[in-house]
């Protein structure tokens, strides 16, 4: 359960943008999971099953709460500490991720953090696989644009 609770917490954090809410969501997810144990057909599917429960709980309780964001220029990325470049990079990247619209951020988090395929993400989010592919592509494009000012690759590669 420890491995799943950590993964679920991170997913919840990127859904809600708030550590306390994320912990509540994990708690509520396991509560509901325990009450619906018969829905778990196979152990290997536990992660996807728990993720789905957490998404529904977030939608039910907190979806209207906007994700708090930080202006990139306001971040402390000073050159002190044990690994300043890593700390600074993470802070800048996290602020950029928080600025993504949920429709881009959520499939990206599921892909990168959860390790889910586009097909699996499509089933979890109830959208088409093509839509997931476009959203994760655009999510990366937007992040790069925010972080590095890279050109809009989606237009170059002809994605909708």
């Amino acid at each position: 359960m420890r491995a799943h609770s950590g993964e679920l917490y991170r997913y919840a954090y990127w859904l809600s943008g708030d550590s306390a809410l994320a912990q509540d969501l994990v708690q509520e997810t396991f509560l509901r999971a325990w009450r619906s144990l018969d829905a778990l057909r196979e152990t290997v599917a536990a992660k996807a099953w728990l993720t789905t429960i957490l998404r529904r709980e977030h939608a039910r309780l907190y979806e209207r709460k906007p994700m708090p964001t930080t202006d990139l220029a306001d971040l402390d990325i000073s050159d002190t500490g044990p690994s300043p470049e890593r700390t600074g990079e993470d802070a800048v990247m996290r602020a950029a991720i928080a600025k993504l619209e949920p429709k881009y951020r959520e499939p990206l988090v599921l892909q990168v953090l959860g390790g889910f395929s586009c097909d699996e993400i499509a089933r979890q989010l109830g959208i088409t696989e093509a839509a997931v592919m476009t959203q994760v592509f655009r999510a990366r494009q937007k992040l790069k644009s925010m972080l590095e000012g890279e050109e809009r690759e989606a237009e170059i590669y002809g994605l909708p």
């Binding site: 359960m1 420890r2 609770s5 708690q27 396991f30 152990t43 996290r94 992040l143």
Partner: protein, 242 residues
């Protein structure tokens, strides 16, 4: 597969796995550069997404759950014992997965999972990258190379588990050797290991740990010597520090 398809695939899911994509990657230097950039970006992204998990979260969840169920039972919840049994069953079921994952938490297992997962296509690369790329990757990890070994066909700054690493592929006559350097992580004792048909070695070099993985150990001694020279300098290597 052409460059357009490859770049589109790269932006959609950088875990390139298909044979067509691997073939294109091997034949196209520009797409290989793009892959390296995309991979570096993915490393930054996954590291940033992995926000710290509050300490004791799992314990609190379990405690709250069991406490809550007891309260429900005490107030007359008819099927409280079923819920408790279900909680125990779920904890057991999920625990099985947890144990499987826990067993994969050692450095050798993390390396095997990393090399055989999204990085597997890189084993096919044989064209050497520029020495500057290797040097830059180590510099970005805060490591100075006294010299840059030749014959690196792939280099990337990969997070492996919680560890930042420099991941390389060094093709040899009969096999590719995956070489990963974990800066600032010092293995307690050098050891050779085997996972299925793959053989590996983890050994402390300079202020970090060098891990090699291949189908046989034939090249390990020579490569360990080479990387000691590169990371520690010839004087320390001659004195022997394994």
């Amino acid at each position: 597969m052409d460059c357009l398809e490859f770049r589109r695939l790269l932006g959609t899911d950088p875990r390139i796995a298909g044979a067509a994509a691997r073939e294109h990657l091997e034949s196209c230097p520009r797409c290989r550069d793009a892959y390296a950039r995309a991979h570096a970006f993915e490393g930054r992204l996954s590291q940033a997404l992995a926000v710290p998990v509050p300490e004791g979260l799992a314990d609190r969840v379990l405690l709250n759950q069991l406490t809550g169920e007891r309260q429900r039972r005490a107030t007359g919840f008819r099927y409280g014992w079923i819920a408790l049994a279900a909680a125990a069953s779920l904890a057991l079921a999920i625990g099985l997965v947890q144990r499987q994952r826990a067993s994969a938490a050692s450095i050798p297992d993390l390396v095997v999972a990393h090399v055989n997962g999204e990085e597997k296509p890189m084993l096919a690369l044989r064209t050497p990258v520029a020495s500057g790329e290797v040097k830059d990757a180590f510099t970005n990890r805060g490591v100075h190379l006294a010299s840059v070994p030749e014959g690196v066909s792939y280099v990337a700054e990969c997070p492996v588990g919680k560890y930042p690493t420099v991941h390389m592929v060094m093709p040899r006559d009969d096999q590719p050797v995956s070489v990963l350097y974990f800066p600032n992580y010092r293995v307690a004792a050098a050891q050779d290991f085997t996972r299925g048909t793959q053989h590996g070695r983890e050994v402390r070099v300079a202020d970090g740990t060098l891990v090699m993985l291949a189908e046989n150990t034939a090249e390990f001694d020579a490569l360990e010597h080479t990387w000691r020279n590169a990371l520690e300098g010839p004087a320390q290597t001659a004195a022997g520090s394994r």
